[in-house]
Amino acid sequence: MTSRQAKTLDMAHPLIPVPTPETQPYWDGCNQGILRINRCNACNDAYFPPAPICPHCSSTDVKFFDASGEATLYSYTIQQKPPDLWGTQGPRSVALVKLLEGPMLTSSIINCEQTPETLRLDMPLQATFTSFGETTVLCFEPTEEQQ
């Protein structure tokens, strides 16, 4: 274990994601502002969360690739009392986001008003990133045309 991992394990807030060696390329991508997910070389399935095996065909011949970052808003809630970590007093969204490449993931819609009027189901989104100390986390925002 590297000293950095040891520090993370010992000291991080429990909500701060702790990468594993298997998911590290994803987190490295986040640090570079790139949404990097897996694709299976055997069946071409794109999948998330990162894992060294394809959940569709069980092949271990898989790779990370740079996803488009394009997505749509499948569903969401607006959390009234967010955890302190987010540094906001106001309500904030928790969302199910469907990537253009297929997978659904849990995320947050940021850089827009956190209201039902602004957050419309099926609205186009693009990947964006936000940092918590040394950890960079994938979020989404309305596409530029809407901003």
Binding site: P17, M104, S108
Partner: protein
């Protein structure tokens, strides 16, 4: 396939007190419930050779109870863990690994004296912790509920009709002495309760309680030796799909395959049809889960569950009595409600429930776990076929 009615519940009990029990730990609630269940069955630890407990290290709890089992399980899939464990116990009894299994649960969810308790879906480095937990902050009300808005949008379920489920469950709880919330409520009152995670309001969320529960299961041919009438297990189902911190892994959130898989297995193994079901429990962690349960289990078509509840069919006087204890919303909900959910089904089959439905021959109980990553379906009967 294990024949319907091959095993039976011969002991069943909750902890002596439920709701707010500040001076008892999670382990203490489990032990109290275990003692009550053994008393209910008229047996002692010496009569038990199979053991499972879920939220505690299994040897820790079995040692305290003086049980030295030849078979043990400790499947943890969240709130329906004890339902999975019952299913596993039935298989173990049928396989001859043991004859009499005690299933124990306790959780100091409200008073948070979680001493002796183990199990954590949000453990560091887990998939849920890495990819889901930060966004929802670990708040189930903001994350478990994510499919609700999509459901309302796709099927035109109004906030008023969504809220009706809390009203009908409270109508049941009014007559349940052990229920936490017993004042009648209304759609307006539910919609006026504080917003927690739009569109989810506080009255749409389960309670946070302290409680324990325990079951004793044995083969049907031994069941006549016990003081209470046996509650036969007619069939079971179970399935996993999503992830423990978010429904993001459920492939079709409005038509979840894991619910169908579990329900179909329970109906097939019990040989019953929907019209045989006299009494229904569907674990209500939040107001929407009975809707998704009714649909996934095939009681109604997709998109009809919310309206079915709003029309009063599951309320007192309705054709399909559901969550008659008041459920997680009004009776009690510790954090993991599966055991309490089963115990109401069992009370109904025994004829011991506070809100006793007349002549319950078949009771179906469906529960969830790990947000929306697991579910189990059990069919209980007063008679073996």
């Amino acid at each position: 396939m294990i024949p319907p009615g091959a095993t039976a519940i011969v002991g069943a009990a909750e902890s002596t007190e439920i709701g707010t029990v500040p001076d008892v730990s999670s382990a203490g609630l489990a032990i109290d419930a275990a003692a009550n269940a053994m008393r209910d069955a008229g047996i002692t630890a010496a009569d038990i050779d199979g053991f499972t407990c879920g939220y505690f290290p299994v040897a820790d709890m079995s040692r305290q109870l003086g049980i030295f089992p030849s078979w043990a399980d400790n499947t943890v899939v969240g709130g329906c863990s004890w339902m999975f464990q019952l299913r596993n116990a039935i298989a173990a009894i049928h396989a001859g690994y043991c004859s009499t299994v005690l299933i124990v649960y306790g959780e100091s969810g409200k008073s948070t004296r979680r001493l002796g308790q183990s199990g954590d879906a949000g453990q560091r480095g887990g998939i849920g912790q890495q990819f889901d937990m930060l966004h929802g902050g670990g708040q189930a009300a903001a994350t478990f509920t994510l499919p609700v808005l999509r459901y309302q949008h796709e099927y035109g379920l109004s906030d008023e009709d969504l809220a009706a489920g809390a009203v009908s469950q409270r109508a049941w709880a009014v007559d349940v002495p052990r229920a936490t919330l017993r004042e009648p409520t209304s759609v307006d009152e539910v919609l006026d309760s504080p917003m927690v995670a739009w569109p989810i309001r506080r009255a749409m969320c389960c309670l946070v309680s302290d409680a324990g529960g325990a079951l004793i299961v044995t083969s049907a041919d031994r069941a006549a030796d016990y003081p209470k009438p046996p509650v036969y297990v007619l069939g079971t189902g179970g399935a996993l799909e999503g992830g423990p911190m978010s429904p993001a892994g459920v492939r079709e959130p409005l038509r979840p395959e894991f619910i169908r898989t579990s329900g179909e297995a329970a109906f097939a193994s019990s040989g019953i049809t929907h019209s045989d079901v006299d009494h229904l429990m569907i674990y209500d962690a939040f107001i929407h889960t009975p809707i998704f349960g009714l649909e996934g289990l095939g009681f109604v078509d997709y998109g009809e569950g919310g309206h079915f509840i709003a029309e009063g069919h599951t309320a007192p006087g309705g054709k399909l009595p559901m969550n008659t204890s008041g459920g997680g919303l009004s009776y009690a909900h510790t954090g993991a409600y599966g055991m309490l959910c089963m115990l109401e089904s069992i009370r109904q089959v025994r004829g011991e429930a506070a809100n006793q439905v007349p002549d319950v021959d078949v009771a179906l109980c469906h529960g969830w776990g790990g947000y929306w990553s697991a579910c189990a379906t059990l069919v209980f009967g007063a008679n073996a076929p």
